[in-house]
Every structure is written in C-alpha cells, then in structure tokens.
C-alpha cells in the first residue's frame, strides 16, 4: 500500500509556480505591505458603506444639513469625533470624505494609466516619426507646471462640466506624461524579442501584438506605477481641495475637511475637526506607498525575498 501511494505521488509531477503565483507568495510574506493592504481595504469598505453606516454612527446622519444646535461639539459619547463648525458629525463626514477622495484618486489614476499606456505603447511599438511626434507632445505636457495648469484649467472649465469630473479630467490630462515615457521605454526593450517577430510574421495585426503580447509583459511595471500614482493623485485632490480649487465646497472630501484648519480659531482650539482627516489621509498615502513598494519587490524576479 505504502509503495503504491508513493508511486501515484511520483506520477503527478508538481507544476512549477507561474510568475504571478511567485509574486503573490512574495507579497503575502511582506508584512508591511499586508498590513497596509488590510488598512486600505477597511478604509475603502467603510467609505463605500458610509450611507448605510451614517445612521448608526451619530444622531446627525445628514452630512449636507447645517445643524445650528450642535456646532463645534468636542468628541463625546454621542459624537465620537465631535462636530464641525456647521454642526455636522466629523466621523460621518470622514467616511463620506473617503468616498470622494478615493473616487477622484482612482478615476484620475485610471485615466492617467490608460492615456499613458496608449501613447507610450504606440510610440514605442511603431517608432520613427510616430514616436517622435508623440514623444515631443509628451515632453510638452511634462513641461507644464502641474499645479499652475490644473488651477487655470479648473477655473476655465468650472461650471461647464460637473465639479468633480472637471477635476478628474484636468488632473488626468496633465499627468499622463510620466507613464507614457515609462511604457515607451519598456515597450522599446520588449519588442526586440523573438516572440514579437514571430507574432508579426504569422500575420498578427499591430493592435493585437500590442494588446496580446506586449502589454502583458509590461503589465507588472504599469501596476507598480499605478499604485504610486494612486497615492499621489489622492494628495493632489486633497491639496487642491484644501486650497479651494478642487472639488466643490459642499462635497465632503478629506481636503475640504482639512481646509477648515485655515481659520486660526479652528486650527488652535478645535483640533478634533482637522486632525482626523489629516491623520487618515497620511495613513492612507503611507499604506498605498507601502503596497506599491511591496508590489515592486514581489513582481521583480530578481529580488530575493
């Protein structure tokens, strides 16, 4: 009996792990990245569930309503994080704020990655004149001082398109340059391989070669870059909202909540209003960066861990 089981075990040769499985294993072992992932997942879930949670969190679940009777209450058992100058519950707003900040960050990242990948892969794959034109255009976009142009474009477009989307589109249009350069350089190196020539020689269209053969091999770089961009997009959104040029004032984003610290009175005497958004914003950025570093390590075949 014993010998037959060993025989059957031998008959099934163990398949070696695929690159993605190796990456997953490495990532799961990275403690910092795992803790960060759990934190981000919790923040995301709480933000998504904000409308359902609001009624249990505080006696004032409506974040749009001004409650004159309960302005500037310090944290207590009823309002765990207190209320702000318009009498709105800080904890409830924090969850709603997460919705906006994460939504803007995610949409802008998606736009940046899609635009950058399209431009970068086309420029890298076709080369020559196409490459030259696209890359000069990218250079131009990269020379614009980012913050200056975001604010100017926002002022022009404001009122034409819905406030939140203005911001996402403007940020997206202005920041794809870096991704395009990165993808182009990767595609340039990758397209010299024989399998690309093989694919072309059996008559694959350029579109198919790019999508089916090139991009999957560049994907790991793009994923890592996307994570880091996601973090910076959240910072951009909150910084602009803080300055008053981001999402509309009535929208509760973390940046808008922080902007109440502009009043010396709030900054000095009522830290419960601005400290929670500052803390959660910093922790979120830090976690996303840790995840990005973890992914970079995990997806790099040369890393030892």
């Amino acid at each position: 009996m014993a010998s037959s089981t060993t025989l059957t075990q031998q008959k099934k040769p163990e398949r070696s792990l695929s690159p993605w499985q190796i990456a997953r294993k490495k990532f799961l072992k990275n403690k910092l990245a795992m803790i960060s992932s759990v934190f981000i997942i919790i923040v995301t879930l709480l933000s998504i569930a904000a409308p359902f949670l609001a009624q249990y969190l505080s006696p004032l679940p409506d974040i749009a309503k001004v409650n004159i009777g309960s302005m500037n209450i310090p944290p207590n058992s009823e309002h765990i994080l207190g209320t702000d100058k318009s009498g709105r519950d800080v904890l409830t707003r924090l969850f709603y704020g997460g919705r906006i900040s994460l939504l803007v960050g995610f949409s802008a990242t998606l736009m940046v990655i899609v635009l950058g990948t399209i431009v970068g892969s086309i420029a890298g794959f076709f080369g020559g004149l196409v490459d030259n034109i696209l890359m000069r255009f990218t250079d131009l976009v990269l020379t614009f001082p980012f913050l200056v142009f975001v604010i100017v474009l926002n002022t022009i477009l404001y009122g034409i398109v819905d406030g939140l989307w203005v911001l996402i589109i403007v940020i997206g249009i202005l920041s794809w340059g870096g991704v395009a350069r990165l993808v182009r350089s990767k595609v340039l190196a990758e397209k010299e391989n024989e399998y690309i020539m093989a694919a072309l020689s059996i008559g694959c269209s350029p579109f198919k070669v790019i999508v089916k053969h090139l991009l999957p091999n560049v994907a790991s770089t793009i994923i890592v870059q996307a994570t880091l961009i996601f973090a910076s997009m959240i910072v951009v959104e909150s910084a602009l909202s803080y300055l008053g040029f981001g999402v509309p004032q009535a929208t509760p984003s973390w940046g808008i909540m922080l902007s109440s610290a502009n009043e010396p009175d709030v900054l000095q005497g009522k830290p419960w209003i601005w400290m929670p958004p500052a803390l959660i914003l910093t922790l979120t950025i830090l976690s996303i960066n840790f995840i990005g570093e973890g992914l970079k390590d995990a997806l790099n075949p040369k890393s030892l861990r």
Binding site: F149, T155, L267, A278
Partner: protein
Amino acid sequence: MLKYTIKRLLGTIPMLILISIVVFSLAKLMPGDSLSGEIDPLNTNPEYIEEMREKLGYNEPLPVQYFNWITGFVQGDFGKSTKYKTDVFDIIMEKVPNTLLLGVISLIITYILAFSMGMYSGRRPYTIGDNAIAGINYIMLAIPSFVAAVVAIYFFSFHLNWFPFGGSVDILIEKGSFEYYLSKLHHVLLPALVLGAMGTASYTQFLRNDIIENSRKDFVRTARAKGTPIRKIYNVHILRNSIIPLVTFLGFDFAALIGGAIITESIFTYPGIGMLFLDSVTSRDYPTLMALTMLLSFLTLAGNLIADLLYGVVDPRIRLD
C-alpha cells in the same frame, strides 16, 4: 559640450513658442479681457467695451493678436492688473524677493538635512540608525506638504510660540533696519523648514546609495592601504565623488519648488509669487494670472534645461551627441 548646449538651447525655443500658444489660447478661453486688463470689467456700457476692443486690437484676427501679445510680453509688458490697477510686471517684481528667499532658505535646509542624514546612513548601512533614517524619510515623503504645514503651524506657532504663523515681516518694524531683516528671516524659517524637509528623502537615499557604492571602489582600498584615516576617506575622498550626481537634482528642484511654493505660501499666508497666483485666481485678476502662468511655465522649462545641461557637465561619461 558647447555644441550640445547650443542644440539644447535652440530646442527649447519651439517648446517656449508652443507653451505661449497654449497660454494664449487659455487666456482667450477665459471670460473677459484677460491679457491686457485695460477694459474696466465694471463698466458694462456696450459702446465703451466696443471702443476699447477696437483700440486694443481685439477685433484683429487671432494670429495678429497673439503676435502683438507675445512681442509685448518679451519686452516686459505683462498688461495691467484688473485688481490693483497697475502694471502686472511691478506687482510680480514686488513679490519675487520673498519667494526667492523662501526657495533659497528651503534649499539650504534640504541640503543640510540630506547631507547629514545621507552621510550617516552611507557610512553605517543596514544599522539601526540607517533604518531609522530611511523610515523617517519614507514618512516625510508620504505626508502631503499641506498636512505637514498645518501640523507645523499647530505645534510650532500656536503651542510652542516659536514662529509667527503668517506674513513675511512684522508690520511695525521700520524697513531697512537690522531687526527688519531678522524678522523677515524669522517669518520665512517655518515655511522653508516644511518645504525643505519634504525634499530631503530623494537626496538622502541617493547620497546613501552612492556612498555605499563608492566605498567599495579601488581608490578607497588604495587610500586605506596608505593609512588614511577612515573619517578622512569618507568625508573627503568618497564625498567628493558622491556629491557630483546630486548637482543634477538642482534643476528638478527648481520646478518642484514652484509647485511647493504655491501650497506652502498660501497656508502660511506668505506674500510671494505662489500666493499672488492663487489670489489672482480667486479675485479673477486674469491678466496677472496669465502672466504668472507664462512665467512659471518658463521657469519650469529653464529648470529642466539646467538639469539636462548639468547632467552632461557633471558626468563626462554620458555621451551627449
């Protein structure tokens, strides 16, 4: 090298023209007269507006208007501010020294912090101290600058009372006296500290890695064999080689400082270019806004150019042509 410099300088000209066209188109998209500021926005008499439009050449075709605007701009004619009713050029020049001071002080702070941390880490890699420095740098990189600024004001200005929380100088002090400059320095220190501390991470890690790499090279072994003290090897032999690549960061810092200045200046209510820019947006002072946009784009371009050129000067191994 000279050939490359000339080539690179010529290469920026089409870039400048393209940027100016973009700025011009944006200005035209803005409501009202956003380039010269000559038309009084409060006077809504159609005859007056029509007369002024004719006088200012707004009925000319767009390319002619663009040409007129750009020739004026190159000669320092930035139009008139609709808010202050004076030349935009004068308003900007009034604020430039403040921003320059902030930029220089914050760069000095960045260098001091980065050099002390980077040299420590590079000499003792993979120790507790090195890891702590890496951790601090990582956190500083992650904290958004405006959050850091708000927290800094909260602790240093309100609780410890070490620094004033706004403005660039005490109003009561007589201009030109010694106390005046001291007060200016006192006001600029906190924003500069915030702006400077944010930039240290990349410098520190770069310096650390470069020192570690250089410490394995042959010239270090030779120096050791000859009996040079370890301290001297690190502080003179290795540092000299490791400083060189850092020079190239300077150009990029230029561009980063512009963005940083907008945020920090507005939080610290520090009257510089960045605050003037935001102020011109909120008060709809479009001529000032467009002039600043053009100017800041130009500075960013100059920063990138300097970075590129320094790269070649510093490391002759890079083939430029």
